[in-house]
Symmetry: C2
């Protein structure tokens, strides 16, 4: 029977490759039970001539208490319950957006990089492999901002360049802030570790880092849109080809189920909460009005969809999953 | 570099296994470009001691015009637009729910089976292979109803049993209707083909088919709930282990984005539209009130989530995707 042959051949692959890449293969080790491995965390769709692949890096869970700074915990819990999310903790997923056209393969931010064994994050490289994306083929790393979960993946396990051949494009305002030690005392206490971390993560890319301006076309078809507040130089990007477009919203919102209905909420990771909230409202207004497809770094995987107005706020509408790319 | 080694090994697998199973392998054929293959269509989660795997069978597109029988096309188009779905066609996805506990591996309905080359449906067997599920290991096929997209996959390419070792459990009322030729003229014209199709699809399972009653525990932990209207014996199922439970909603709704906000809409595939609408309202009331996790045959992949009240109707809330099973 064809399927048994395929399973057997897949099991052959398992002797060579990691289980994460070949979810079907655990059947060989335990013939009586389906393996409990999750499907590989990547998803593909097209935006005009761009092939977009979102790649999951896992998640991080923290207490819900203290996550939103300017709303009572009970209100935040109610928002979580309305979205059928846990009310004791905030599960923060990480999903990285890759866009490819011709010889250009760009990635927005770099994930959490190398994490300790047992960590729930740090799965980007394995999921890239499942998607057939070799980090050595990445031509451009384009950063939205410099928080650790967005830059730590610049380094591989040896502390070298995880993206060995990439140019690194960074928002001018973000680079200026975090590379000037004089700004450390002017930063919120919880963010001061970024100064040393940025120095360390960018070190092996010397001569490869290029700052870009607030509204620059960073590479053909990809344009920066300043979105300050979450960090001083936080930036989002429009990917456009003819009439087709999408916007990578980076950290304009954390989980959209919590933040889109409550755009004035400010979270513990916001550098300047008032500015972050103003940016959030402005960007959500824009993508809702123009019905622009969006991806987001902390959106539920596969992290792509649309934004609709709802009440005094907004609502995230996941895009339909399709087996056709 | 570790990742290059893994990619190379994955490419070795590609010589043996089908591209659909190893999405990373096209890189070997075209080193400069990421492959455009979609991720395998399966997803796992747990309900108490049950391991649930939803498996995608692809989709079918038909004109939106004529899909809803008792609402103006403009209203249906507005519902589609509000959900960021196409307004010219109804894309109907198919996702099959497997549940496993101990030596029991049950599947609810069987997909579209063998389809012509180039068809957008018929991917269940390939996606089962990606998930490590061998059809020969399925112990129970449990049917919700006998429409073609739910029973055609009983047969393999040779016309034999696709699930060679399975018992087939069928709703008594459904079996009684479609196996009695006297009912043909009492069925809607568009459904009369089901009589011959049911005879053909169940033929190789002679002696393996067991009808069950309207509220039977069909196997331990899985209980039938009569949900008539879409067909005479349409049935849904509660899967329960201790406090944990979910309900497989089968065709209580077609796409939830269209049907949950408008539970009184009747679709072209409903055998008895009034009964289907009454069942729909009753089941949606129940799962919304009790916040019960649901899967559905035509829900957007991965086809699992929750139902919330919204206005005069309901809203589907996809469950959070997690890399942790």
């Amino acid at each position: 029977m064809a399927i048994n042959r395929r399973l057997a051949l897949s099991a052959t692959g398992a002797l060579l490759a990691s289980p994460a890449m070949l979810p079907g293969t655990a059947a060989q080790q335990a013939p009586a039970a389906a393996p409990a491995a999750q499907a590989p965390g990547f998803y593909r769709f097209r935006v005009g001539g761009f092939l977009v692949t979102t790649v999951h890096d896992g998640f991080f869970a923290r207490p819900l208490d203290g996550f939103v700074r300017n709303a009572p915990l009970a209100d935040v819990q109610a928002a979580a319950a309305a979205a059928f999310l846990p009310t004791d903790r905030q599960v923060i997923p990480f999903t990285i957006t890759f866009v490819q056209r011709g010889d250009t393969l760009a990635v927005f931010d770099t994930g959490n990089g190398v994490t300790p064994a047992g960590a729930t994050a740090g799965r980007m490289i394995a999921n890239m492999a499942a998607a057939g994306i070799d980090p050595a083929r990445v031509t451009h790393v384009i950063h939205s901002h410099f928080h650790g979960d967005h830059v730590n993946g610049l380094l591989n396990a040896e502390g070298g360049r995880a993206f060995s051949n990439a140019q690194v494009l960074v928002p001018e305002a973000e680079w200026a802030w975090w590379t000037n030690a004089g700004n450390e005392t002017r930063s919120p206490e919880g963010q001061r570790g970024n100064f040393a971390n940025v120095a360390r993560r960018f070190a092996p890319y010397q001569g490869r880092v290029t700052p870009f301006g607030a509204a620059a076309e960073v590479i053909p078809g990809i344009t920066a849109i300043a979105a300050p507040g979450h960090t001083p130089g936080h930036t989002i990007f429009r990917i456009a080809d003819g009439d087709a477009q999408m916007i990578f919203m980076a950290d304009v919102t954390n989980r959209p189920e919590i933040m889109m209905p409550n755009p004035s909420w400010q979270i513990v990771f916001d550098f300047d909460g008032d500015a972050a909230a103003a940016t959030r409202r402005r960007v959500l207004d824009m993508v809702a009005t123009d019905r622009i497809r969006v991806t987001g770094y902390h959106f539920p995987f596969p992290a792509n969809g649309f934004v609709a107005r709802a009440g005094n706020g907004f609502r995230f509408v996941p895009a339909d999953w399709s087996s056709a790319v």
